[in-house]
Amino acid sequence: MSDIDNSNSLLPGFRVLDLTSSMGAFCGKLLRDLGMDVIKVEPPGGDPTRSEPPFAKDHTHREGSLRFAYLNAGKRSITLDIGKDSGRGLLLDLVERSDIVLETFEPGYLSTHDLGYEVLLERRPKLILVSLTGFGQDGPYAHYKTPDIVGTAMGGLLYISGDPKLTPCNPPETQSYYYASLFAAYGAMLALWQRETRGIGAYVDASIQASMALHEHVAFNFSAEGRVMKRAGSQHQHNAPANLFQCKNGWIALFVTQAHWPLLLKVWEDHAPELDDPKWINSNLRRAHADYINAQVTSYTSRFLKEDLAELMQKNGIPGLPVNSPSDFMKDPHIQARGFFSTVTHPVLGSFPQPGSPFMFDGKRAAPSPAPLMGQHNNEVFCGELGLDKKYLEVLAADGVI
């Protein structure tokens, strides 16, 4: 552990075996960005994420999936068929040298292959196993299938998302997978803390539904206040103006509380005189008359470019930010100055900017690395670290084990 001080990672020196599909890859990604050595264990045909879009230049190629490239950046890759005896044996050899195992198989899959937690624990006392599934390891829905949209639906976020006149609208990418992966990562860190302080391992059971159901006070609002939250577009439930407002070249997101309302009236010099009535200081009243307030505010915002208006608002202490496209965000000078994106070079995808670690420590940010090619680290891991003979590796390849 003496290398920690000199490393540009927060927490190096721990090893993770990442057996996940795209459901849990984001968990391994965060652990990698915390500084851990994360080994992605792919089936011999490759992780199914490799066939998921978007692809670079729209070519379906097993090294061309940008989804794989982002979610697995910086991990090492080995291929292994854990359903075969010799593959299972090699996995256990790796488990012996690992701190954390992540998996997203259907509940019971590992036990069926005689790789349940107790078996793993025999080979690696104090092991931390993190299982992530749609609904958890047991219970009436444990075997229900969970693509991302089932996670956002069953967790309650989908119902409140979108325009009330339209169908509920799922957020971009696979947020229910990501969000549950973050809870799984918290479980892994708690378990690691427990191992360091008490010397025992742990089995963490993460659920996509349970992770999502914490969102937006949906359950609590109903329980405490008997209120069912509904879709409202971007209109905030307690405040107005707190919505998206039209500008000359796009939209701005304004969030005006009681404290900001007088500031807004001050900078908006030619506002309608009736808005000066002190009754409007009350957020609940403004929210109750949101249609009127929003129409008034739009007559003001529509005179500006969104970037200019955001700057004007911020200068006057009002939280306004432009509705950016992804490219707008990538070009933003603040984001650039903080070094959130760094250029990585991938042998197939070329050079491109990629987000690095989502935090800085002591003023430093761990720079991102490219995703591994399929099985790129087979030699390094199987021969270099497990001490297998190169010829035996060829036999395993011929048998379809790696």
Partner: protein, 404 residues
């Protein structure tokens, strides 16, 4: 043999937090046994959620209670020199600091990282500012709602081909902050334990949000285009989407990806003749005819309850899920099976139940969840037992409005 999950027992964390992300991050550590001391003052430093809604009692705002379960309360005026000194002393007896004030607010009060770490070189400091501690826009005022807009997520959170952005009323960046904060906090605590040295973390909520859009940014960069909203469409599945069911505003999502799922789907909806229909014979064909499939699926779903749609399809191995409301969540049999809700039969806001956590530890029951202590309720105990001051000193500080 169930022990209670108090993994963080013995860890003391001082929090300077307001709103949603920071307080909830504290709650998620208190829920695993950490001693979380929330520091506020009536002299210009109350958590903004204490004023949410229409309550005279600052301890009775539902939103505040939700986000601060299990937290102890120290009311201390940081602008008073004695107040700041007491916090420095308390930092000497603590493991970590969590704060989501605007950058440099604590520095100006004599509570910068260096000052706090003077008597405790191992101290971990985690900051959760909207735009980060440094950078040209670090002083910007941000809320979860407009951080979503800034990242590009609002732009993308829409059905295809709409004439305006829709986005979400919610504050997704806060949710990301309150789970990433504790995760990185525990990693930093481990580092501090292994190295004997403290560490300061700057977790900008905008970057935590952008972290969940990386595939989109790579798509934009590598393919030189602007990714567009895709709503409920999935480039890999058809039928796929959100379908209206019987009842008012009732919906069920359905996603058919593989050939096996397609065959099962056709049988469940009583249309087995579609299995051999050339338009739907494999996934590329089904994707090409997605509009027809959506119409067929909608027609079948709207004659049934959302629960019936989900259970029939899932029993046959086809992914589906009810679009659940808050009321649905409270009676969800799976969440109940996980003992997901902590029950508070008696509180300042009456009885309520509240979600605990996305994770369970096998062989351990969930950790303690208590109501937040009342404002300032822990002053005497913290100053007396942790810092060793006598009653007379504490009474004097109360009179001098250091403790307020």
């Amino acid at each position: 043999m169930h022990s209670t999950n108090e993994i963080l027992k013995g860890v003391r964390i001082l929090t300077f937090t307001t709103g949603y992300a920071g307080p909830y991050a504290g709650r998620l550590m208190a829920g695993y046994g950490a001693e979380v001391i929330k520091i506020e003052s009536r002299k210009g430093g109350l958590d903004t959620f204490r004023h949410y809604g229409q309550h005279k009692d600052i301890d009775a705002a539902p939103r505040f209670i939700e986000c601060n379960l299990g937290v102890r309360s120290l009311s201390i005026n940081l602008k008073h020199p004695t107040g700041a000194r007491l916090i420095r002393e308390l930092a000497g007896k603590s493991d970590a600091i969590l704060e989501n004030f605007r950058p440099r607010v604590l520095d100006k009060l004599g509570l910068g990282d260096g000052e706090l770490r003077k008597s405790n070189p191992k101290l971990v400091i985690v900051k959760l500012p909207g735009f980060g501690s440094e950078g040209p826009k670090s002083s910007y005022g941000t809320w979860g709602f407009n951080l979503t807009a800034f990242s590009g997520m609002t732009y993308l959170w829409n059905h295809p081909d709409q004439d305006r952005p829709i986005g979400s009323q919610g504050v997704y960046p806060d949710h990301l902050g309150f789970i990433m904060g504790p995760t990185i906090m525990v990693a930093a605590l481990l580092r501090s334990r292994l190295t004997g040295k403290g560490v300061s973390i700057d977790l900008a909520q905008i970057e935590g949000t952008a972290y969940t859009l990386g595939v989109t940014y790579l798509d934009a960069a590598v393919n030189s285009h602007d990714p567009q909203p895709r709503g409920n469409r999935d480039p890999e599945a058809a039928p796929h989407g959100c379908y209206r069911c019987q009842g008012e505003d009732r919906w069920c999502v359905i996603s058919v990806r593989t050939d096996d799922e397609w065959h099962s789907f056709c049988c469940v909806i009583g249309r087995s003749e579609l299995i051999d229909d050339a338009r739907f014979v494999n996934r590329p064909a089904r994707l090409e005819h997605a509009a027809e499939l959506n119409a067929i699926t909608q027609q079948w779903a709207e004659a049934r309850s959302a629960e019936e749609v989900m259970n029939q399809l899932q029993s046959a191995g086809v992914p589906a899920g009810v679009v659940q409301t808050g009321a649905d969540l409270l009676k969800d049999v799976q969440l109940r099976h996980r003992n997901y809700f902590a029950s508070f039969p008696d509180s300042l806001i009456g009885p309520f139940e509240i979600p605990r956590s996305g994770i369970l530890f096998r062989g351990m029951s969930e950790g303690p969840l208590r109501l937040p202590n009342r404002f300032g309720a822990d002053n005497d105990q913290i100053l007396g037992e942790i810092l060793g001051y006598d009653e007379a000193s504490i009474a004097k500080w109360r009179a001098e409005e250091v403790l307020t």
